[in-house]
């Protein structure tokens, strides 16, 4: 990981969290579907990042989100789960030694791989997030509905952002 990648990731972290906290926090469709665009930051961290560092970054990201959302621990746990799924998926779907791309972005990995990766990671993140928030299984269908709708919304925004930046990079 060179210094350029670190700078880009720091800039991405700040930009995505800024958008999440100051714009998307006030946005929801019928109080059911809320986009969590900041997961994109953890999704596109470089491939060769050590696992411990990945967890620490995910932990700090979740903690920052929780501070602003006043839900200490909820986003943190969700981000940790997201990091775990990310490691699992990458190790299952790709040969780690043969990876020559720097980071798992849409432009590098292609639409099919990236969308599957994003769907799985976002789904796990949202399941943990919404069930920890509700903290009970009695309103299971409501929580599950919220989760699925939010997954769709988040996925949409993530793909949108990726498409925009992918085009600019390749041009």
């Amino acid at each position: 990981m060179n210094s350029r990648a670190i700078l880009i990731n720091i800039f991405r972290w700040i930009a995505l969290l800024f958008i999440q906290i100051f714009l998307l926090r006030n946005m929801a469709f019928y109080n059911l579907s809320t986009p969590f665009i900041y997961v994109l930051f953890i999704l596109v961290l470089p491939f060769h990042i050590p696992n411990l560092l990945l967890y620490v970054i995910a932990f700090i990201t979740g903690l920052t989100l929780d501070t602003f959302y006043d839900t200490l621990g909820v986003h943190t746990s969700a981000c940790i789960a997201l990091a775990f799924v990310r490691i699992l998926f990458i190790s299952v779907s790709l040969n780690r030694e043969a990876i020559d791309e720097p980071e798992p972005s849409l432009g590098n990995m292609g639409f099919r791989w990236f969308s599957l990766y994003a769907v799985l990671c976002i789904f796990v993140h949202h399941v943990v997030l919404f069930f920890l928030e509700a903290f009970k299984f009695t309103s299971l269908t409501y929580t599950l509905g919220r989760t699925l709708l939010s997954v769709v919304f988040t996925l949409f925004t993530v793909l949108l952002v990726e498409f925009i930046f992918h085009n600019r990079k390749s041009a």
């Binding site: 932990f59 621990g73 746990s77 775990f84």
Partner: protein, 279 residues
């Protein structure tokens, strides 16, 4: 040991996940009010049920102590009650008046002779000149309502001419618009629960249920609630309204009264020496 280390490093993602996720969950439960209440609430339900079961047995075992303490409390209350009944209450209660600093002083007195069935009733109280009572002082009821005026005073006793006497006039006003009138009793009405307010001009609109209060002249402090208007259409034939008022106080069960000592009564009286004060 080496194998364990290899095992741990191979599956480090999973172990890191367990560690970090546990920290996250602990943070969630410890710092979020809602999650905490759910967690400890469900555990508490078990504990609470157990305690409830136990408590039934405990209650039976404790019955003796509870009985004893209740009996002791009863005895203490009864002693207090006897002390109150036996007391010849001479406590002087004070009413604060903001315009004239402490204009009125109340002297508590016990009624020991009373009547409500005559046309000119009289009342005797157990306070007299020795306690500072003089003629024409106003007398009021403990909670609500007026009683009358001090008629004559001896050293230890005084007679009160209550409202239930045809010679008694008390100056009152309607609480909502300050229309003056005088409260009287008698004139075909010998019900001790009712009285008449006379001399209210016809143009005032009075509704049933309006409150009558004392006007502040004639020895009574202003604002003592006298009664509620119960009938507005008492025909008398003159140009003033007569209202039937249901009194707040019950004269037949009157046991304690307050004699109102007005600091400025002498002063006011000296200003109008020629006019005979009727009210």
């Amino acid at each position: 040991m080496r194998n364990l280390w290899i095992f741990l490093s191979r599956y480090n993602a999973f172990f890191f996940f367990i560690i970090f996720f546990t920290v996250g969950i602990i943070l969630t439960i410890r710092n979020n009010m809602y999650q905490r209440s759910v967690t400890f609430g469900s555990t508490n339900e078990l504990v609470g049920t157990a305690y409830k079961r136990l408590n039934v047995i405990k209650r039976y075992l404790n019955l003796v102590q509870v009985n004893d303490s209740l009996a002791a409390e009863n005895a203490a209350l009864k002693t207090q009650l006897l002390a109150i009944n036996g007391i010849d209450s001479t406590q002087v209660t004070k009413v604060k008046d903001t315009t004239n600093h402490q204009q009125y002083t109340l002297i508590a007195a016990k009624v020991f002779k009373n009547s409500v069935t005559l046309t000119n009733n009289m009342m005797t109280i157990n306070k007299g000149g020795k306690d500072g009572i003089v003629k024409d002082m106003a007398v009021i009821s403990p909670i609500k309502g007026v009683v009358g005026f001090v008629e004559s005073v001896s050293e230890n006793f005084a007679t009160v001419r209550p409202l239930l006497n045809q010679k008694t006039f008390i100056s009152v006003v309607l609480k909502k618009d300050n229309a003056f009138g005088s409260l009287v009793w008698g004139d075909d009405n010998f019900d001790y629960r009712k009285a008449y307010v006379k001399e209210i001009p016809n143009h005032y609109k009075v509704k049933i249920g309006d409150t009558i209060i004392t006007s502040g002249s004639g020895g009574f402090p202003r604002g003592i609630e006298v009664g509620r208007v119960s009938n507005t259409s008492v025909s008398t034939g003159d140009s003033f309204m007569t209202l039937e008022v249901t009194l707040f106080n019950n004269f037949s069960t009157l046991h304690f009264v307050y004699v109102v000592k007005d600091k400025f009564a002498e002063e006011v009286k000296s200003l109008q020496p020629e006019v005979k004060n009727e009210q």
